[in-house]
Amino acid sequence: MQERTQSVWQRMLGIDRRWLYLVLFVNIVTFLVAPIRMPASISPPVQKFYDEIEKLQPGDLVMISSNWSASTLAENQPQLEAVIAHLMRKQARFTIISIEAQSRDISYRLAERVTKDKGYQYGEQWAHFGFVPNLIVAIKGMVNDLPNTIKQDVRGTAVNQLPVVRGVKSLSDYKMIIDVTPSGTLPIWISYSPKNVPILYCPTSVMAAEAYTYLDSGQIKGMITGAKGAQEYEQLLGVVGLGTRFMNAISFSHVLIILFILLGNFAMLMNRLQLRREG
């Protein structure tokens, strides 16, 4: 029995997924290395984030909660780098805390590298408080008694011996909290941190949709959404960082996905018409 040949539309609908993977891979690599720079339109949440940090005075103390691991590195690393760059520009002091075991090392090494380039002194202008296994407990503890909750930094120095937090008794003594995270840690910070300390948020793109309610209510003062937000932030800072480099590939990947969705629907439509014609 002769096998019925497939139409071009049927072949399109049944395309081997490996071809799709290849197309996306080539697209990403091409636009990662292509020297195209498209300026972003600054979104209101990013502008608010920037304005909030601009209000800081030299010496103000900021808590950065860094809870991301390598899996979301492409989005959270550009955010954290841009935020630390801005804090250093404002000569603010900052401390980092992680509730993700891997993030303890990633954020510490990242901050060490970025601060070394600008001559920021560990212990004097910044410090890393290491890994805490339970964020709710840690925040409640820091609100009551920060030195006794954290006890020592990643280098084993007692917190009350660190010049960067000299005189700090509680989280209320901080000027700002910045949550860089791919997880649902934001509601915890909102619920348990002191109400006088503003919160800024750096989620991955997939988490950002949930945070617009908190932005509306003023419970967070600004938001950098994924690598796209990082690119906007780098643009505000006037630097070319990872966000700017990643966004080309992301932009054209979005276009490719849209094109292929349209293509898939077109093939489905044409296939239906053909089947109808053939009875």
Binding site: L73, A101, Y212
Partner: protein, 299 residues
């Protein structure tokens, strides 16, 4: 007796004189171990109903403590004028309770690690199916743990950071673990692309609206959207000037980034808020059930 009085007065072992500190800390740790190790056989001898009663009582008291500390008025001085106005009478107990929770959290990590190693050791010893992967896991685990512990000790300047440690940790962490983890997660983009092509079909009005909105947001949030709107089409960027006519206002608001932002803030945010209210109420109900040990599985 003098040391005990001092301990009670200072409320901390670490504020004792140097000589007594180590002794007392050791005694406390050993005492805690003996107490808990002694409790396990006692609990084992209890009938299931008795064990359940103990778990229920401890769960209820722990929940009650945290809830009471949170909800009792902060300004306790209205009732006890001499007390600290920034905290109620339960607040000083929060810190030790939180230390206990941190220790339980750390113990859970240790327990998980122990379970993982035991399972894979058993796989290797009994040569179960695919036991070769278990060897890979155990070797990776031991190597990574060794270098990580040494690296942490070097950060605290307890051991010297030699070139072997520096290079070894960097190869294992920066150039292996981080890259593998990032690569694993990035595979999702390929699955999404394939799934979008195969499954995102316009079969109904709702699906069409969803697809059209998704496309607008996907293009609007990336720089390409701004390029298409403001550079290619020449639409005006930023807010329309005050008193501008209708056409100017429309022109200022139909850029793709503006539309994407409108969808996110005016359509997405209210829907998310409704979902979060639902989740919050559900979470509260679940918390009460857990607190009162009404959930199944409390034994």
């Amino acid at each position: 007796m003098g040391v005990l009085n001092h301990l009670i007065a200072q409320q901390s072992v670490w504020q004792l004189p140097e000589g007594s500190r180590v002794l007392f800390a050791t005694l406390i740790v050993l005492g805690a171990f003996v107490l808990f190790l002694g409790l396990i056989p006692v609990l084992q001898t209890l009938p299931p109903r008795g064990r359940r009663a103990i778990v229920v009582i401890i769960t209820f008291l722990a929940g009650l403590f945290f809830a009471a500390e949170f909800f009792l008025p902060i300004n306790w001085t209205a009732i006890f004028p001499k007390d600290d106005p920034t905290r109620n009478f339960l607040t000083p107990a929060i810190q030790p309770a939180q230390n206990v929770l941190q220790i339980i959290g750390a113990l859970a990590l240790g327990l998980g690690t122990f379970g993982l190693v035991r399972l894979h050791l058993r796989n290797v010893v009994q040569k179960r199916a695919q036991w070769g992967y278990s060897i890979v896991l155990l070797v990776s685990f031991i190597t990574m743990a060794t270098f990580s512990i040494l690296n942490t000790l070097a950060e605290k300047e307890i051991v010297e950071r030699g070139p072997v440690l520096e290079r070894g940790f960097s190869i294992l962490f920066d150039y292996t673990l981080v890259q593998l983890d990032a690569a694993m997660f990035s595979l999702i983009a390929f699955y999404i692309f394939s799934a979008a092509y195969r499954a995102f079909r316009i079969r109904s009005i709702e699906a069409s609206i969803l697809m059209f909105t998704a496309m607008l947001v996907m293009i609007g949030v990336v720089p390409l959207g701004a390029y298409l709107s403001y550079t290619l089409l020449g639409l005006p960027e930023g807010a329309a000037p005050e008193g501008a006519n209708f056409l100017t206002q429309v022109q200022h608001n139909i850029g793709l980034p503006k539309i994407a932002n409108w969808v996110l803030t005016q359509l997405n945010a209210p829907a998310q808020r409704a979902i979060e209210f639902g989740v919050g109420i559900g979470g509260l109900a679940m918390a009460i059930r857990l607190w009162l040990s009404l959930e199944r599985g409390v034994t």
